[in-house]
């Protein structure tokens, strides 16, 4: 053990001294699987990779695109990817069903969920939704929290019409006027709608009406965490730096993302998306915390909402502390 520590210290020292690509040093190869195809929300990780934050921590980071948080969580549970960037409430639901995963950092402390439509439709408050058509994706996290938003804003399901379709159909429906509104993220669908039509989009944020759940975060396989606590700590150190730097310098973050993935967006709107994302890093608990630190009040509220609306079984799902930890944050 002592020998291992000293080797590690020596390695760390060499790393610190050379401060750059160290060819001789074997790095820990890790895969970070994203929740979706690359878009502005993911820019910080590309910035961190480009600036060498991960490399300096001895991590060879491979960022892979995902196909929805659910799939990403399953991949992490099965060990296909060591780290996942996924919707934390989705992860909690999977973990409650037995998936060996845990959140080690919550990036978006304020919910990006919103119901949005084109600004020219003049839908600015929940009561404007009456008589309109709303597009939702059945089974996704937003469609599950939607009833709570309706309850908090005194709307009934009979006040409006609802159509259901997959992620693309939802966008198409609003673009083509088959629906007036869709349930989406302020830094994702809002940008996509604007890019496609050059029209402004007005999101009514769930968080502004007392419906706040934590959103995307870093999830990790529990076995992997047990065996490699040190890699996880280093990973989170680099990830925290990445988020902090991206919040300060969104321009560079977007550039790094577009350089790595030229097809992942348009500079201007990606920049708007990155700024909107960074605005969600601070939670209601302690606005002075560094990124990824989950507040207990925020987590408890999220958990309570999941039990009440998200299909989480109260009897078998334990307590929220089983699903996240701040122990690996810098």
């Amino acid at each position: 053990m002592l020998k291992r520590i000293s080797t590690f210290l020596a390695a760390a020292l060499t790393c610190a001294m050379v401060n750059g690509p160290v060819a001789a040093q074997p790095k820990d190869k890790v895969i970070l699987m994203l929740n979706w195809y690359v878009y502005s929300e993911h820019a910080p990780f590309f910035l961190g990779k480009e600036r060498g934050y991960f490399e300096q921590e001895g991590i060879d980071l491979d960022i892979q695109e995902g196909r929805g948080s659910g799939v990403t969580v399953q991949a992490v549970a099965a060990g296909t990817a060591q780290f996942g960037y996924a919707d934390v409430p989705t992860m909690i639901k999977a973990a409650a069903k037995g998936a060996p995963v845990i959140a080690i950092g919550v990036a978006l402390q304020t919910s990006p969920m919103s119901v949005m439509g084109f600004t020219d439709k003049n839908i600015k408050t929940p009561s404007d939704i009456k008589g309109k058509i709303v597009a939702v994706t059945p089974g996704d996290s937003m469609s599950q929290i939607w009833p709570l938003f309706l309850k908090k804003t005194n709307l009934k399901d009979t006040d409006f019409q609802q159509v259901a379709g997959d992620a693309q159909t939802k966008l198409n429906a609003v673009i083509n006027g088959q629906a007036d509104l869709l349930l989406g993220y302020v830094m994702d669908q809002a940008i996509k709608l604007q890019d496609a039509t050059k029209k402004n989009v007005y999101p009514i944020r769930f968080a502004d009406y007392g419906v706040n759940l934590v959103s995307s975060g870093i999830v990790v396989n529990k076995d992997y965490l047990k065996k490699n606590p040190d890699v996880v700590k280093r990973f989170m150190r680099a990830a925290t730096r990445s988020l902090e730097e991206a919040a300060k310098n969104p321009d560079a973050a977007v550039d790094a993302m577009l350089k790595a993935n030229p097809k992942s967006g348009v500079k201007d709107s990606a920049l708007v998306g990155m700024k909107a994302t960074a605005a969600l890093y601070k939670g209601p608990d302690n606005p002075n915390d560094r990124p990824f630190r989950a507040g207990s009040k925020n987590m408890n509220e999220t958990f309570a909402l999941l039990v009440e609306y998200g299909g989480l079984d109260k009897a078998t799902s334990g307590k929220v502390e089983d699903y996240y930890t701040n122990d690996f944050l810098p």
Binding site: G70, K97, P138, G139, S141, V163, A164, D166, Q168, N172
Partner: protein
């Protein structure tokens, strides 16, 4: 066969109808044993008893949604027949039509339906029409291909014989060509009807307020794998039932064909 000396339980166990059920039971046992043996966690593959539990518990809902999917499937299948068979006849009997249309047809078939399915919702809305069209897109091609093959492989000596006996074109078609083409036409129909089920679900995945595809999406979002598998079982059952239905029609229409003669197995 009537004087079968085997005891009743053997006759039941090895009867044609029991065999697939027997295989299903064996597969279920294998599934259960594999899960227990390799400790496959339920969030990756659910246990068969959990799936059966959902199948029973959620039956009213599964039944309701499967009706929706069946309607879309049948609609798509009917369209496939209505367009596929005339199209196949044109291709089989006209070299000009064949050279114009056939390559394009093959080309269109290689387009992944899931990629264009969202457009159907844009064009035709959230009702049943986009699902019917998806089912049609998948079910159409096998009918055309096998019907063309059926009519092209009609014995030309037989046609000559009919002509020499002064049979008109219609009579030749009805008495010689059609009966000879029917077996491969039905082969195409059977493939088509099972693919139409897939097409309908693809349509429901993309945009729908009901149907098995919609249920699958919800189950997926909740990590309810048992419900998801139960929905898949129901979906496969729809496919099997429709396949059997086509098979029965086939038996009625071409009872003379080798595949339906009971003595076939004896002589083979």
């Amino acid at each position: 066969m009537a004087t079968n000396p085997r005891p009743l339980w053997q006759r039941v166990l090895f009867s044609v109808w029991a065999r697939p059920i027997l295989l299903v039971v064996i597969l279920l046992v294998l599934w259960d044993v594999t899960i227990r043996l390799f400790r496959i966690p339920p969030y990756l593959v659910p246990a068969p008893e959990a799936v059966v539990g959902q199948l029973v518990g959620e039956w009213p809902r599964l039944w309701r949604e499967s009706l929706v999917t069946t309607y879309a499937t049948l609609g798509g299948f009917a369209l496939s027949i209505a367009f596929g068979i005339p199209m196949a006849l044109l291709i089989a009997y006209s070299r000009t039509v064949e050279s114009f249309v056939y390559p394009l047809l093959v080309f269109s078939q290689s387009i992944p339906k899931i990629a264009i399915a969202p457009l159907f919702v844009v064009w035709f809305g959230f009702g049943i029409i986009p699902k019917v069209i998806c089912a049609f897109m998948l079910g159409f091609f096998p009918i055309v291909v096998s019907t063309v093959a059926g009519f092209k492989s009609v014995d030309s000596d037989m046609i000559d014989l009919a002509r020499s006996m002064k049979a008109g074109r219609l009579a030749t078609f009805m008495r010689i060509a059609l009966p000879q083409a029917l077996p491969s036409l039905f082969a195409g129909l059977k493939v088509s009807v099972t693919l139409a089920v897939v097409g309908a679900v693809v349509g429901e995945f993309v945009g729908s307020n009901s149907g098995i595809g919609y249920l699958l999406q919800i189950a997926n979002g909740n990590f309810d794998l048992p419900l998801m598998f139960a929905a898949l079982v129901v979906l496969s059952l729809i496919g099997v039932l429709l396949f059997v239905a086509v098979d029965i029609v086939e038996r009625l229409m071409i009872p003379w064909h080798a595949s339906h003669r009971n003595d076939f197995t004896a002589t083979a």
